[in-house]
Symmetry: C2
Subunit: 394 residues, 2 copies
């Protein structure tokens, strides 16, 4: 592991002072903000859900395909992770870029630690995790992801955990690592090797207890109980395919898009036209819900009664709404062209959908299933509510 300072040469930090003559921003709270990624333009839109308006655009964030973000604990800043290895700190109150580094050649998301002081990035190239100071974006630590095979692996499924650390998976090596940063000078890693072939994404349950990684190389999911890491990694949902030939995969489903409702997890099934309901006590399959295409995001409405499912091409103009009591499709909508992502407001009065090929964000009432507003956006993709600042496993 390399320590503070050694990484500085590879991460050129650019900071952006407040423009001269800028007046003070209109005082407002930051609890009702949503940030929309404009992938082609390399910008984000800051929007608010009270009056459903766009407040402003922040540009210069680089390549934002597959971009995701996390929020500072005060919900003032977004940390935007670009596919190009860019890490941008964006001020949602003053609506400007605050700092930006290109910290790797190819990255796939990140996390912010429980106390808000550390931002972590999962890198493909060079494979590993890098930690940065959330205030300054100064580098703190680098963890090369060298698996039991001695080779450097891509890192996926990086999340913060309830104990203040991070968890992630090594795609090539087939491992899961837990990173304890209680003492940054003595970081501790717990390794689970040989967990399965090609974990392609991972996530943690909302309470921070169970880390799950989906396997691309075989049928199944790996589970680690973070309360009892000594019990080791465990395979669940083995043989889910049961010899059936999977369909060609048009789009990898996102485990960050899974949902929890009551005693069940709802997962998009890789290469199948199904959403999988998993019992959280037994970790067994409780139901398979047939859907119209390959699911990408399964997003549970905040009250847990329904989930909204987005689909891969060629069905990405459709949304299906699942009734989670009956494990059945309740409605099929065609809200727009190329729905790339969707986000509920935290208490569920609205759902925001990105319609990339319509260049707009659609705001809907999730119960009446009616459009409340259209907001102009250039090729929008991910939408992120600042309420995520308060969740474990951001």
């Amino acid at each position: 592991m390399r320590r503070r300072g050694l990484l500085a040469t590879s991460a050129a930090l650019a900071t952006f002072p407040r423009p001269a003559g800028a007046g003070c921003p209109e005082p407002r709270g930051t609890g009702d903000l949503l940030v929309v990624v404009e992938r082609a333009r390399g910008s984000v839109l800051v929007a608010e859900s009270t009056r459903r308006t766009i407040l402003g655009r922040i540009e210069g964030l680089g390549d934002l395909s597959h971009a995701s973000m996390v929020f500072s604990r005060d919900a003032r800043y977004a940390f935007v992770f670009g596919r190009d290895g860019g890490l941008s700190k964006v001020d949602l109150v003053e609506r400007r870029l605050r700092a930006r580094i290109v910290q790797a050649g190819n990255a796939i998301g990140g996390a912010i630690g429980r106390d808000g002081r550390i931002v972590a990035v999962a890198n493909y190239e060079p494979g590993g995790v890098r930690l940065f100071d959330a205030e300054s974006l100064d580098p703190l630590l680098e963890i090369p992801a060298i698996g039991a095979d001695g080779r450097r692996s891509k890192v996926v499924g990086l999340v913060d955990t309830a104990d203040g650390g991070f968890a992630f998976a090594l795609f090539d090596a087939g491992e899961i690592w837990l990173l304890d940063v209680t003492d940054l000078a003595e970081p501790r890693i717990t390794r689970f090797a040989g967990v399965g072939s090609l974990p392609y994404d991972g996530n943690v349950t909302a309470d921070g207890r169970f880390y799950l990684a989906g396997l691309f190389g075989e049928d199944g999911v790996v589970l680690v109980d973070l309360w009892h890491p000594e019990a080791g990694a465990r395979r669940i949902l083995d043989g889910y395919g049961r010899g059936e030939a999977p369909l060609p995969v048009y789009k990898m489903p996102h485990l960050e898009g899974w949902g929890t409702a009551g005693e069940h997890l709802f997962l998009p099934a890789v290469g199948r036209h199904e959403v999988l309901a998993v019992d959280r006590r037994s970790w067994r399959e409780a139901a398979r819900i047939p859907v119209l295409g390959q699911p990408v995001f399964v997003v549970v409405r905040p009250d847990g009664r329904e989930a909204w499912v987005s689909f891969a091409h060629p069905d990405n103009g459709k949304i299906q709404i699942l009734d989670l009591e009956r494990f059945a499709v309740a409605a099929t909508l065609s809200p727009g062209r190329a729905i790339l992502h969707l986000e509920f407001t935290p208490r569920g009065d609205q759902v925001w959908l990105s319609a990339r090929d319509d260049d707009r964000v659609i705001v809907m009432d999730p119960r009446r299933r009616e459009v409340l507003a259209h907001l102009p956006a250039e090729k929008p993709s991910g939408i992120f509510s600042t309420a995520r600042a308060h969740r474990i496993g951001s």
Copy 2:
């Protein structure tokens, strides 16, 4: 029901303009704020958990014994409910009182509707619920709580529900009402009469599905499944006392202080030295956890692994930490004198405790169980994190 305008005479609205010459406030997010009630002084402190400092005090809120509050959806405003019937709207960004009314003679808390437009107050005198416009505090609607017995009842346990309405209990009449305000001109009430003797408090599960009211007049709890109100109210945990003579009750436990973790609810037992674990699937008692005194608040750590329990006099200088996997006491602390309330930061890195008789708030690391800071406060009682803005059943 009386409509908009008719109530105006009884609620004298005072609004407070921004003081002349006040500079613009330092830009900041509002996600890391906590508001501390100073009950004797009639003021609240606005504090933040990033650096753990007090940002300012807002005065003139009247009698704040038993005061509680909810937050606007943007987390800029707190709506403070006083025991004296006062409803104050406090600006946490500019840190000043924005508007204040005295809307009843005696009140017991309130709620804010899902979309943030309606603030509801539960009143003892005159018994009923009043709704106010969250922007202006103008009166919108009054619902007198006249039970099947034809008499006006005190209202308790008022919460917002996931469908945008409200639920509450009629203490004297022994009823539970659901209020649908989809159309304010045609509010609809669903009544459950004869649910049990003297419901003294009520709350809704975090997903907004189950409304539970504790009974003071008999052993048991009443449950309404808000997804299936047609199924009626249901009694659970009957005979919990099993003929044992309850202890004298020194302090009514708060159902708003219950906790949910995994498949269990944890409730303070009325008049007993026990915390009750209830299975959320069967609604049966799963365990009784003996504790050192009469529990008042049972507050689950955000990751669900522990709960912190506060106690009634004479044990209110102590806190017990429950291990929720083992259903057992893990530690006993003596953090200060007269611990009236406690609140976790949303991701669980800190817990804030009010030590009334020490005139301070104690900030602790919940895992190391170490004190991080002492903040001066005058007779502090309730502590409320702005992250509550994003929760159903606020």
